[in-house]
Symmetry: C2
Subunit: 396 residues, 2 copies
Amino acid sequence: MCCAVCDGELRTAHRQRLKDEEGDLHGSGEYRCHKILVTLHQDQLKTTTTVAANRDFPEDRIWLNGKEDNINHPRLQSCLREIRRLARKRRSSGDDNISKILNYKVHICSVNNFPTAAGLASSAAGYACLVYSLARLYGVEGELSEIARQGSGSACRSMYGGFVQWIMGEREDGKDSLAQQVEPENHWPELRILILVASAEKKHVGSTAGMQTSVKTSPLLKHRAESVVPGRMEEMIEAIKKKDFEAFGQLTMKDSNQFHATCLDTYPPIFYLNQVSQRIIGLVHRYNAYYGTTKIAYSFDAGPNAVIFTLDPTVNEFVEIVKRSFPPESNGDPYLKGLAVSPVSLSQDLLSAVETDVFPGGVSYVIVTQPGPGPMESQDISVDLLGTDGFPNASG
Amino acid sequence: MCCAVCDGELRTAHRQRLKDEEGDLHGSGEYRCHKILVTLHQDQLKTTTTVAANRDFPEDRIWLNGKEDNINHPRLQSCLREIRRLARKRRSSGDDNISKILNYKVHICSVNNFPTAAGLASSAAGYACLVYSLARLYGVEGELSEIARQGSGSACRSMYGGFVQWIMGEREDGKDSLAQQVEPENHWPELRILILVASAEKKHVGSTAGMQTSVKTSPLLKHRAESVVPGRMEEMIEAIKKKDFEAFGQLTMKDSNQFHATCLDTYPPIFYLNQVSQRIIGLVHRYNAYYGTTKIAYSFDAGPNAVIFTLDPTVNEFVEIVKRSFPPESNGDPYLKGLAVSPVSLSQDLLSAVETDVFPGGVSYVIVTQPGPGPMESQDISVDLLGTDGFPNASG
């Protein structure tokens, strides 16, 4: 059984006060991050997960990207427990096969085709995919995002395709995280998303730990959450619905910058943007200034990689500029991955308007993609990661 | 005639609403930046200016750092006009010599011994020094900071030594800028200031232009000005008065970070901190974490150079760490300038706690200095920059 998910973010973060069940306000960490996200297409960025249950397995085990990992991780255990609980509850309706495998242990095998923990929301995709796969195994249908979010707070939004509104929770266990679809993946067919991979280094600060420190120490974050983001959220949803790229792009960039501003206002400060990120930001603004309109927008999550939004007719030209500004270092790997890009020649005017110093190797590679659906079951047996013996095969 | 000034900043920026003469609020740009600054000692960082008036000079002229510059610059003209106006007003009290030279044109020659326009407040020091020199020439005494601020909004604070409170103005002409001394330069004798020169490149965005864009576009700046800085200003003055380095250092760092956060929240965003700045910030926090107390603080103005504050007993050790982290590239120039630093050996414990990757050449050189007095007239004729013919000599 296998599924494929991934997502990029066009962030509009927002933290709102959260009431607990008794109606009281929580303590210091009472803000919730509110975002709009785009699920990326699995043809380009995907997590593939295979799960198998067998009477001969003595224990639950998991392999991630080719190495066995700790099955006792609390978030993982929480997902497993929850989905088994749901499956048991529904068993009464009677599928003997399900009853049987609920007594078996499982083997889980998962691989990403993009760098883990480098700000590409790998854990969100991973948990979403895992929960989806387990649900198929145990025949659980319906609302899975509640289970997924027990793995990673952000996983619940990866259960949906297209444009997703996500209210991130505060809790370690992700139980207060909520997601819903704003528009499906085919709503804005011209929209393209380019991932400029600036570095595959593991980031210094995980996004969960970083956000918790920001909530505690950044005086600007509270203001951002209460006074800036609510208005931007509404404008963003409106811009998506109207397919208004000018508004969409500006909001995306302003909000990304403000998120990183609150990281810098954290004590000690957190830097996710490196010099390559800064150069990409400069390049985008010069490009837009040349055309006098927002043709390109950037967003950076908890890492240096740029998520670039644009419309189909601009892709070829912008990719050409990125290639000239950050020429590939010839290590044999392809520089362009994903959707096809055609070479174009650039006018001298445009070049002198946007170019500054060339930075070879600053961008390792570019993934060209578009909005995509949520997790899907693959019918293609060749993508299975577990062999007939229940252990990872060559691709797992 | 010559004078020597310079200053580093321990910034506590604050923008407060400004009432104009009629008591109305100004329009969009109504915030005033409120800071505490330290004037640096002229033994290490100085601007030297010589002015001369002569009946044979056909016109006013100025040379800056060895090259003739535009005497018609509006700010410069404003300073000249204002000081001549003051001199004329006081002439009634009768000095024939002053009356005479008021009819002459002047030659001005000024040099900095530190990089211009790289975030070391060169224009503040330059205008302060110019105004002081012209005042001596024309025999104008008393309050000069009002004139200096017509040159550079920040120049008025360079008219004072020691710890200075500065309410920066909004106006292009600097007329709404105010400064006053908090404590004199000998108040905190153990305080040391290290300038880590990260880059002598000209900065992309001047600090005045940058601030004006921030006021117009950053939603976080308004909140910072109204709700964060006023409290910090009071705490900072208290920390200086009590010589409480822990409080002083933390406030300095938090406020520097928040200033750069609002630069990032500006649209398009402004980056003054480069990768060297980011590494220095990381190093300082690891060093303080190792000792469990704030022994070092950093502040960055509108550029990548770090202004480091510490107390005398920490200087040797920290300089050694900077030297190891950013080893000098052997171009023959001295790496350490200013006050004497003694080599020390570092414990293995400390090294493994603070060090990461080594970045050769990241810091070009380090200036070790301390708080200093305001502008002073030099009695040493050998520092004169204009020869007996009224034109720049070899040192000008």
